[in-house]
Amino acid sequence: MMSQKEMKKYHEKTIAELSTMLQAGEVTSVELTQYFLNRIKAHDGRLNSFITVTEELALAAAKDADAAIKNGTAGPLTGVPIAHKDIFCTQGVRTSCGSKMLDNFISPYDATVVTKMKQAGVVMLGKTNMDEFAMGSSNETSFYGAVKNPWNTDTVPGGSSGGSAAAVAARLAPAATGTDTGGSIRQPASMCGITGIKPTYGRVSRYGMIAFASSLDQAGPMGQSAHDCALLLNAMAGFDEKDSTCLDMEVPDYTAELDKPLKGLRIGLPKEYFGEGLNVDVEKVIRAALDEYKKLGAELVDIELPNSGLSVPVYYVVAPAECSANLSRFDGVRYGYRCENPVDLMDLYTRSRGEGFGAEVKRRIMVGTYALSSGYYDAYYLKSQQLRHKISDDFKNAFEKVDVIMGPTAPDTAFNIGEKSDDPISMYLSDIYTIAVNLAGLPGMSVPAGFVNGKPVGLQIAGNYFKESQLLNVAHQYQLHTDWHRAIPEAFV
């Protein structure tokens, strides 16, 4: 006979709720961890959201967490199981970055984010699938195969943190980590109907997070609610002496401002985010969400981000240029994939890299190599850096008039698997609303705001530098009055 406990549907609980239950002794971390491991076993065959499941390590960590709870040394996240995107180095565990290149790479060290999570008592369930080296918007470029969207398994979950988004949406993990270079947290969060935040550049250490584009990459949490994201960000954020670009700034308690009323909040609506290319049904969902904010006392202000239309072209210089150098270290010499029987050094390099990287990664490395090559630097790289300045200035001007900026996270809902995989450009355009935020280094969120034909739509909220608390507050207030974020895809209830 099933006990009361086993009948409980822990996967319907947010982290905030699970935390309370753990502290109250209503459930142990081992039980919770086993529960989610079982869900992964039962359901991930349909999603392919995990690359590696670390069952033994998870149960051992859960045991330690239970001991800490008993000892009274536990924090709010102690014993909570989550998944890490496979871009974070995890000591003793394969860290593939979704690539054949690192299929055999057992990391000898932990990323700072992983260390911080461990210190907070968080239990790692496994490593989630992703676009290869985070280059993609659909999770189809993974060496481990495409991830399916739990809301409709014919469609993509978005990318590059598609595995994390799908796992959380299907409640195979209560939350997960992600990274966002041009929208890789927000766009899949939008397509999978979950909540995700990309903090201000420099808020979270990049050490041990395999670099795609160093000046854009930023890690953040992906969860069921703004409240959960706040709890997770409390553990993730903070200074790290190992990352020169990590900010030496005090980290506030991100849950502290959640309950602030929104009366008087000025919401900027960039006209560029509501123009051509936006699916009309998606726009309706977003407009409805904005109405909700009006009801909560916010004021809607029309603004302009005149250069944002160039954010995609700028991004496709900056990111490939940086990645072309960042990915040069994968050369088959010290770790990772090495081709069979190289005849000489050139063969070792070109075949190891040619065979180890997938097509999209190779494309971007080549674009970046071209943009930096002699004779083209000024026309491409330098130009992109100048435009980056202008795009950034647009936001500066906007934030003199408004507190936050809102719009759709993506121009459309999840598309079908295979639909855009032969057309890089149309794939790139699915990040059209998210990229500018990365170029400026600002914090941004995606919050579930409704559905179109059963597919989730995300509302993007961008804020000024270091205003994560405000973003989380704005999202949380909305979630107190809506329940889009509590919806679970039928097949995974």
Binding site: Y109, Y207, K242, A321, R329, L372
Partner: protein, 482 residues
């Protein structure tokens, strides 16, 4: 030199790579100590593991700025690190972190002394911070190359000169001057065997009177003063041969082969060089202020040139002696101790640059390895000054001291080398020599002054070199008047 210097002018610029004397690497906390087992000092950052990041070493910055101040250069108040992209197994990231457009040290200069005694100013274009690569070990691994990354990430400054040198000798003089300076100001151990100090030379030739430079070849990685001179000269000859045979010098990188005394093309490094420099997004601009620079300026020791001027003014040394003594801080310190102890700077300078320098040179020793320390050396000079021994005897005493036979006084005592200053004893010898050489004495008396030398020589000989030559002279004068 076997080329026609009246016809050809040589143009040389040097790029000197100098290892900065830090404990840890420029961007990681791994040790820079020399000689460790392969790859035991290559940490995650040095190995370029996925996800690792660089953090800049404070001391590397300080040492680079110190160099800049010592060559009176502009200091980059905002310097930027760039990535220089190239694939090579000793370069784990496949890019080198270096500085391109905004180096830490801008325009400066270094004066060298030419053989004709003139001084020539060599322009320093810039000096930038960068990381060193690892080492490739060839052969012995089943035909494969072994890679040791201990050296990867070692902090360097690359000191780039203007193309101001006109002969291999000038290039060597400049390199030696820089070498001496970096050790002087203690930013590098300058150890050339260990690769802490090495240079690339850009060499071209042109007929005298031609305005444009000729096409240059870059000679890579020369790690001794001797090789610099040989490599440049052999390259000059090669280029002149090429041109005189109606050919064209091509711009390329060449390697000097010391065994064969030839330079050869490194085509492997040349293929489609496109380094694709861009600012390293993992590192932020390095910003310093005037206060920081002033602090470092205060830490600067007296520089060779300043010391040289002081020695000329304070000790009345010749420009040559002053220059020689100030080539190394240790030598200068040795000299100053000797001068202070013995109270005669000129005598000290003569002996330090003469007998002592010759001896060190012969045994290829540094001043710090001298078998006679400064105090002991001063002890020797004191005995010259107080007439205990003559300069000639002093050379023998020095030799004995070098052989470890004790202090100057001990040697003088045990060998009975003390100068005879007792006038009656000397007079007896004078009388004896006169008595034995009556004819010569008559000639001397008759006005043949040359004979004085003969008598002094004979008397000194009779005394076994121990008579005071001044006293001997005086006594002879007296005998002539008698």
């Amino acid at each position: 030199m076997s080329y026609d210097t009246s016809k050809w002018e040589v143009v040389i610029g040097l790029e000197i790579h100098c290892q900065l004397a830090t404990r840890s690497k420029i961007f990681s906390g791994a040790s820079t100590a020399y000689g460790a087992e392969p790859n035991t000092q290559a940490c995650a950052v040095d190995l370029a593991l996925p996800g690792v990041l660089p953090v800049f070493n404070k001391e590397a910055l300080r040492l680079a700025v110190k160099f800049g101040l010592a060559v009176e250069a502009e200091i980059g108040m905002r310097s930027v690190f760039d990535r220089k992209n190239y694939f090579y197994p000793d370069s784990p990231k496949a890019y080198q972190i270096t500085q391109m457009d905004h180096p830490i040290v801008g325009k400066g200069h270094m004066d060298i002394e030419l053989e004709n005694g003139e001084t020539k100013r060599i322009g320093i274009t810039r000096a930038h911070l960068e990381e060193d690569a690892g080492k490739s070990m060839h052969g012995s691994y089943h035909g494969m190359t072994g890679i040791d990354l201990n050296r990867a990430g070692t902090p360097l400054i690359e000191i780039v000169s203007e193309p101001d040198m006109r002969s291999a000798k000038e290039a060597v003089a400049y390199m030696k001057k820089i070498h001496s300076l970096v050790r002087y100001i203690e930013i590098s151990d300058g150890n050339m065997q260990e690769g802490s100090f090495r240079c690339d030379a850009n060499v071209s030739v042109r007929p005298h009177g031609q305005k444009e430079f000729g096409t240059r070849a870059e000679l890579k990685n020369i790690n001794s003063f001797r090789f610099v001179e040989k490599a440049i000269n052999i390259e000059i000859e090669r280029q002149i041969d090429v041109i005189e045979d109606g050919g064209k010098v091509i711009q390329e990188t060449r390697l000097y082969d010391a065994d064969k005394n030839e330079t050869r093309s490194m085509r492997s490094k040349e293929e489609a060089n496109d380094y694709r420099y861009f600012p390293d997004p993992d590192l932020l601009p390095v910003v310093i202020d005037e206060a920081y620079i002033e602090q470092i300026r205060k830490e600067l020791p007296e520089l060779p040139e300043q010391k040289k001027q002081r020695y000329m003014a304070e000790y009345e040394l010749s420009a040559y002696d002053a220059a020689v003594i100030t080539t190394s801080r240790e030598l200068a310190a040795y000299f100053e101790t000797v001068a202070k102890e013995c109270g005669d700077a000129k005598l000290s300078a003569n002996w330090v640059t003469g007998e002592l320098a010759a001896r060190l040179n012969k045994e290829e020793l540094e001043i710090t390895e001298s078998k006679v320390d400064a105090e002991a050396f001063a002890g020797l000079l004191k005995r010259i000054k107080d007439n205990t021994i003559s300069g000639k005897i002093a050379k023998d005493v020095f030799e004995a001291m070098w052989q470890g036979e004790g202090s100057a006084d001990q040697v003088i005592e045990s060998k009975g080398l003390k100068q005879i200053t007792d006038s009656s004893a000397i007079e007896a010898m004078v009388d004896e020599v006169i008595a034995n050489n009556p004819a010569q004495f008559a000639e001397l008396k008759g006005g043949k002054d040359k004979m004085m030398g003969f008598f002094v020589g004979q008397i000194m000989k009779a005394s076994g070199g121990k008579a005071n030559p001044g006293q001997v002279n005086q006594l002879m004068q007296k005998k002539l008047k008698d």
